[in-house]
Amino acid sequence: MIGVPLAQGGLKIQEPGGSDACAAANDFCPSWIAENIDRYWTPLLEHVYLTVVPVTIGFAISLALAIIAHRRRWLTGPIITVTGIFFAIPSVAAFFLLQPLTGLGYNTAMVALVSYTLLIIFRSITLGLRNVPVDTRDAALGQGLTSRQVLWSVELPMAFPEIIAGLRIATSTTVGLAALAVFAGAGGLGTEILLDKRFKSNVATAGGLAILLAAALDLLLLAVQRLGTPWQRARA
């Protein structure tokens, strides 16, 4: 039988540290946070996992789809329609719709989170490939490159800024959605938020860590973009 994630344990207001008057009043207490920050490391790591893995898998699938659609233009419309439907289904709903198939836990969260990244990343790769000037492509073909070589060594590198822009959107969106993965029984910072949603210190710490994670991953991708487009630095 499929388990119920929130029936046991969840949603019970956890008793904040007894002796501390500030924590007992559910207030925002830096001292409580400093003492209890340890309990957030595991959920944070789970959250990193719930973000990085889906975006990576989503990128691989989207790249494959975009390359296929680059050759066969007519496929672009149908791919956007299908991934658009995945994108529109609320993640909380998807976590339950998938449970009869994939059970409770990581698998359900992963399938749902991957499906959200597809539309964003596919669109950005397609946009990037279409923005490559025709002259550039012609020049490469004229130099005797095969169309496969043109794709991998000219078109995709030139589409890099758009691809990274899409990955940045997909990553920060996934950090937010992964907070809801608690409904799929997959852990993450959302678990801590739901454990005691009235305790200001808890909400601020768990929410703050999620925002910091999104910012850190965003900066990382920005750095990758700078490293990956040396010609743009040279021009500037």
Binding site: G84, A94, F96, R123, A179, V203
Partner: protein, 253 residues
């Protein structure tokens, strides 16, 4: 084979839950069925619509004006970046713990989530208007206000409706977790499995998914309907769904 049947069984039961009342898991109370779910649905729609209207009234005129005077690249990118980075669950929990429970707080949270996509798409939509068209209008003696109303707004409408579509989907989806703040939307069975069980959760998930897809479809239709005929010829409306401000799109103007 038996797995397939079990899966079908879960969905079958969930659909029965949507249409027919039954006794709750903990016993004693009748749950599910059309009357209860339509009450949840009414609350769900009420908070969603109010939030979208508030966000649209606040964000669209501001972004139109910023786009018109050409200042706000930073605001457009910053709001959309920050907006995406704040998890909806964290924002709702923040309001619950720091401000309190209740419908007003839920509406504020939903409106805050709807603002960033509206600002970004409206701003980008105005900036993407052909500068020649604006210059032509100015040359014909139109005032700044008239240019906004008669040139920039109509040409930016497809982009603005793309933003409304994204905002509406986010709001209707996030209203699902409103029961955490004691607002009984369609998420109620999802949040209280002690009463509703997995069948109730799955039933509610089906209803939420169908409603969100309907909202998405409706706004896609609206987006197509408001696209000026001239733009339809130049560019298929579908392409404008994801106008996020990349450096290129901002510099293009």
């Amino acid at each position: 084979m038996s797995v397939a049947l079990a899966v079908l069984g879960d969905f079958g039961e969930a659909i029965e839950f949507i249409f027919k009342e039954r006794e709750s898991v903990s016993g004693g109370v009748q749950i599910g069925g059309i009357p209860e779910l339509s009450a949840f649905g009414a609350t769900h729609m009420k908070v969603s619509i109010i939030a979208i209207v508030i966000a649209a009234v606040a964000a669209i005129p501001l972004a139109l004006w910023l786009g018109h005077i050409g200042r706000g690249d930073f605001l457009a990118t910053a709001t959309s970046n920050v907006g995406r980075a704040v998890p909806s669950l964290a924002l709702l929990a923040f309001f619950i713990s720091f401000i309190g429970l209740g419908e007003t707080n839920v509406i504020v949270v939903l409106a805050l989530l709807a603002v960033p996509p509206l600002i970004t798409t409206t701003y980008v939509g105005v900036r993407q208007v052909d500068r020649d068209a604006v210059d032509a209008a100015r040359g014909q003696g139109l005032t700044g206000m008239e240019i906004v109303r008669k040139v920039e707004l109509p040409l930016a409408l497809p982009s603005i409706f793309g933003g409304l579509r994204t905002a509406a989907v986010i709001v209707v989806a996030t209203a699902t977790i409103a029961p955490l703040a004691n607002v009984r939307t369609l998420g109620e069975p999802i949040i209280t499995p002690q009463t509703y069980g997995f069948v109730g959760q799955l039933g509610a998930a089906i209803v939420v998914a169908v409603i969100t897809l309907a909202v998405d479809f409706l706004f896609a239709r609206l987006q197509r309907a408001v696209t000026p005929a001239g733009l339809k010829l130049a560019e298929p409306a579908a392409r404008r769904r994801f106008s996020f401000p990349t450096k290129r799109s901002l510099k293009a103007t």
